[in-house]
């Protein structure tokens, strides 16, 4: 058809090409700067235009800088989000301001846009949790600044912040967050979001630390202020209805899975359980040595796997720095004791001294249990409902005992240790106990809307039902089928090894949704 047409059009070939080429060339030519703008210099400076929206002087002792949002003036244009992105040169989808919506009820129609960035909390959870001290709360301005080059990309601050402020930057392997445009404020310029708001709804003010609320919520849908004492204030001439809720309150979303962490937790807990078995059972020198060697092996794999979780692993050696406040730092230090314990055990075994060996094993077991306790606290300290002390402690120590007993049973069955029946009985009993506790807890949480982790239960019901069913199947196999088969005379070491693998898988699945069903608290969303 094209060839037909070429015959029908009789334009001079030469001139056609030239006008086309000329046009294509013209399209690619930009005018010189001189031709484009002549005297458009020195518009009123940014400093003058926004000086009324920032404090004139530095905060005094006992004060800090804070965002103030006038809800009456915020009508939902979201320019602050775009301006934060553009004026700070952030990545493609990155902005440190977020926008959400509060909606009313049937009886009280209500609609309010809520803009939020970092609340530069008086007691910043992100900073308290950071294992490498990659956060700095400025002693004068109170701005919570993130030190990008110090960050190891462990994401713990993301779990710690109840407002979903720090964001992981995959390209750089670190977290980044709002610094209230500290550099601009130093120069007397307003932060990007303040500059961008058409209605001057956002400003920077000086607040007295004694006025920062330590209870209630800064706005409907926000986390309880007692945790971090956020400094942002939302003001309005209208009262926000009691029943106002975030527009995304009904959303059920899976959270990040943190796969390396799930493996690390289950492996280190199995290891701790193995050490516990080695320490408690009246074993011979070689039996103690073999049991603790196997426990150590899995523990070290777990610790090694946790490094995969880091965005900047080469900087992880600083992880002890945050020990004063960070449970993650303490957990890392505690797990650091395992290799030392391993050396001590090896030396005692080589010396052939059973009592020395016992001392080393008991010491290592205590260190490992301490590390598991730290692991529990890492999550409890985030104040997330699904990660309460009862939930997390029950799961982590339940796993420790269950997998410890299962691991000992396997090792002892292959080595012909006399205490084997105790280990088997304990493993089966623990399997029943842990599963029944978990299942009944889940059912209660699902049916009881007032349960703190009701939403997590709904997420599990919506997205994770096949995982739950699979765990049910694994429970039947390890708690019923395999014990029956063993009683019926199936080869014990093989049966126990399979049972350990299945139990391990079951706990790994549980640990996966420990993360994905967590439902992180955040500011109101869309």
């Amino acid at each position: 058809m094209i060839r037909d047409m070429e015959r029908t059009i009789s334009t001079g070939g030469g001139s056609v090409v030239s006008i086309l080429e000329a046009t294509l060339r013209e399209q690619q030519t930009l005018r010189t700067p001189v031709a484009l703008f002549s005297e458009e210099y020195d518009a009123r400076s940014v400093r003058e235009r926004f000086s009324h929206l920032i404090p004139l002087s530095k905060p005094n002792p006992g004060e800090q800088l804070a965002f103030q949002v006038n809800l009456d003036a915020c009508t939902g244009c979201k320019a602050c989000v775009a301006a934060c992105h553009s004026l700070n040169g952030l990545d493609e989808d990155e902005s440190w301001r977020d926008i959400g919506l509060l909606v009313g009820t049937r009886k009280q129609p209500y609609l309010q846009t809520v803009t939020s960035a970092c609340h530069h909390c008086e007691d910043p959870a992100c900073s308290n949790g950071c294992p490498v001290l990659a956060y700095d709360k400025d002693p004068i301005t109170g701005i919570v600044r993130h030190l990008d080059d110090q960050c190891i990309g462990c994401s713990y601050c993301i779990l710690k912040c109840p407002y979903d402020v720090p964001k992981f930057n995959l390209k750089r392997g670190i977290v980044r967050k709002c610094d209230m445009c500290q550099g601009r404020l130093t120069e007397g310029e307003a932060p990007a979001c303040v500059q961008a708001c058409p209605n001057e709804a956002i400003k920077i003010q000086v607040v007295k630390l004694s006025d920062v609320p330590d209870r209630g919520q800064i706005i409907a849908g926000a986390f309880d202020s007692s945790y971090t004492r956020p400094t942002t204030t939302y003001v309005s001439s209208k009262t926000v209805p009691e029943a106002a809720k975030p527009a995304d309150a009904g959303r059920l979303d899976l959270d990040h899975g943190h796969v390396p962490l799930a493996w690390m937790l289950v492996l280190t807990q199995m290891s701790a359980g193995g050490f516990l078995g080695a320490a408690l059972a009246p074993l011979s020198l070689n039996e103690v040595a073999v049991t603790s060697a196997v426990a150590l092996f899995f523990g070290l794999i777990g610790i090694a796997l946790s490094v995969l979780h880091l965005g900047q692993p080469l900087k992880a050696w600083r992880a002890f720095l945050g020990w004063k406040k960070s449970w993650l730092s303490r957990e890392i230090i505690a797990f650091g004791a395992l290799p030392g314990g391993g050396v001590a055990i090896a030396v005692a075994w080589w010396l052939g001294d059973l009592s020395l060996l016992r001392l080393a094993v008991v010491g290592t077991a205590l260190a490992a249990l301490g590390a598991v306790a730290c692991s529990v606290m890492v999550y409890v300290d985030t104040r997330r409902a699904f990660w309460s002390l009862a939930q997390t402690g029950g799961k982590f120590f339940g796993t420790t005992l269950l997998l410890g007993a299962s691991l000992c049973a396997v090792v002892w069955s292959w080595c012909g240790v006399a205490e084997l029946p105790c280990a088997i009985a304990l493993a089966v009993a623990l399997r029943w106990f842990v599963s029944v506790w978990e299942i009944s807890g889940y059912r209660d949480a699902l049916s009881d809307e007032s349960c703190a982790w009701h939403k997590s239960a709904r997420i599990m019901e919506k997205y994770l039902s096949s995982a739950l069913e699979l765990r049910g199947l694994l429970f039947v196999m390890t708690g019923l089928l395999i014990p029956v088969l063993i009683a019926a005379g199936a080869p014990m070491p093989w049966m126990l090894t399979i049972s350990l693998l299945l139990t391990f898988s079951s706990q790994l699945i549980e640990r996966h949704y420990f993360f994905t069903a967590c439902h992180c608290p955040k500011m109101p969303g869309n």
Binding site: L20, R49, G76, C77, I174
Partner: protein, 746 residues
Amino acid sequence: MLTAPAMTFREWTGPLTADLVREPAKFGLGQVPSRLLPDATTKAVCGFCSTGCGLNIHLKDGAAINLTPDPDYPVNLGTACPKGWEALSVLDAPDRAKMPLLHGKEVDWDTALRYFCDQMKRSLDQHGPEAAAFLSTGQIMFEEMAFLGALAKFGMGMIHGDGNTRQCMATAVTAYKESFGFDAPPFTYADFEESDVLVFIGANPCIAHPIMWQRVLRNQRQPEIIVVDPRTTETAMAATQHHAIKPKSDLTLLYGLAHLLIRDGGVDQSFVEDHTSGFEAFAAFVAAFTPERVSAETGLSAEQLMRFANALMRRTNFQVRSGGNELGSSFYDKPRVSFWWTMGVNQSHQATRTAQAIINLALMTGNIGKPGTGANSITGQCNAMGSRLFSNTTNLLGGHDFKNPRHREKISLATGIPVGRIPDRPSLAYDQIIQAADAGTVKAIWFVATNPSHSWIDQNEMNRVLNKLDFLVVQDMYCTTETAKRAHLVLPAAGWGEKEGCFINSERRIGYSPKVRRAPGQALADFHIFRLIAHYWGCEDLFRNWQTPESAFRMLQRCSEGQPCEITGIEGYEMIRKRGGVQWPAKMTNDEWRMTNERRLFEDGRFFTADKRARFCFDEPVAAPEQRCDEFPFILMTGRGTSAQWHTETRTGKSAVLSKMMPEDLMLDLNPADAAKLGVLDGQGVRVISKRAELTALARLTGCVKPGEVYLPMHDSRVNQLTHASFDPHSRQPSYKHSAVRVEAV
């Protein structure tokens, strides 16, 4: 990216910290990211909506690297909505059309242009001048739009061409023409700041025109803000009075208000007598719109109606300011009332009469031609106003009439086009062109910068007709629009920022936008494409004067001579840039316009009709054609989702930052009482079913829609499969806001 640690305990600086370092820029910009430090700046008018904000473009080596709102531009005073902030990033999308696509395969321009001309000629030669049509847009510059209209009609010999402005602005055009004698929105944005009472009807400027809302909030007169909208929108939340009428009962409400104004002495008798015609007939007509009737039909109580009417007659919330100055309350007794409307009015089965009912209220209360007054249509697209005057579709260039021989002579003289090439009849309207395509009279359609496969009402019907065409051409920035995917030929176009020209905003302000980016691949400015088509068609001699956008601009200035929209006084692009835009009229023979940069029309009370009087136009209200029934018990309204979304999202959908500002899923606003009956939980999936199609969405339970009413944002490509195609008989504008649907839990 792994970085090695420094041998210190804490690294306060380093390469990752340096990524975010800001430094002071010149040009009054304050600090900017170091890697985006400009070496120069220039100014442009934004290419999304009709607000027409000024943007400072940051340049490095002549190319745009970033932008900030222009603090010196009289429209936006240094702010912009997120679309404006993201105007550059959407140019970098991977799905930009880079080469012409013939049946989906890349071809060179020579092949594409030859094919285009051959197919168009074949249709026109075989089936006559009605067999090919163009459908253009309010998204390209008006020099380009005029070139398209001139090329298609004068050069290629088409009769029919319309624009997507039919979907947004046709009603305002028709209403103003009949009432004022010319399509002349009378206001300037300063009126937002100078009103005592602002009445918003079918408008949600907080979301749709946030920068106009900025001007409302700058109003220092403690204004009464009255919102008429079935939904509790962001704007309704910010109002002092919200009247949540039944969907599409606005015309009855407006007549009812006129009734109350007449009854209670709210009429400005001297203005009505001196400057209007037809008031007596109108007064007799609205006598039937008693509060009882209006209350029953709109769902508002009689008290609400009185409160609304009173606000138009007397200042109710005036408080003496500045230490109790003694101007006296009587000075302020008569409030300055401005009326503002947009899509809720324009997209209706009786849209023109509704817009005119608003105009009638302004006329009868004398609220026109004075600061803080007016019957004011807020326009939609960045160049809808340019399209209305210069697109050469329903009007001959410059707001002239194709049927008028003197107008054809005048345009012939102004443009150098032989008068015999100017058609003597206007085009069919958009929906009629599509009907003609269905009937087989129109065989080929050329779409420029518009996406009807997504945006047209009762979309499946539109797509069925598009599939019947012999030749479908789409000229667009993106090759992935729903319409481009159906096209036989796609012509890759440069976008805003990659070409120069002017837009006309809602307040009649002509603003300039320069070329500051290189277009991707071989995409060409629409202006260039038209020039090439003229050449390949063999009619380039007719368009000798259309060498550059600025030379086309000069010709359009000549076309405007003697019209209400005359712009002969503008000296060129440089003047537009330096003055912060120029509003029409700007006559060469009259220098008054040079004194101020914010002007309104009709200050002398003389309108553009033959007798210089504004007309009262009215008709009996009729019910919307598709009503609720047992099978489809909900009324579906559609409209803007968020300020970050624009129409079919061919552009805004490309920005990751804008995407963060909207819900991830399509959300159906549903009243909790209805949800309880349907057994639907907040956030649960629902099926929305109309007679035409069905879709699934997530329910957002909110009292902001009333029981029996649901709302969907128009940006999702499935929504217009549901909508019922009805049209205003005068403006032919589609009515997107009243379809019957059923909702089911998934």
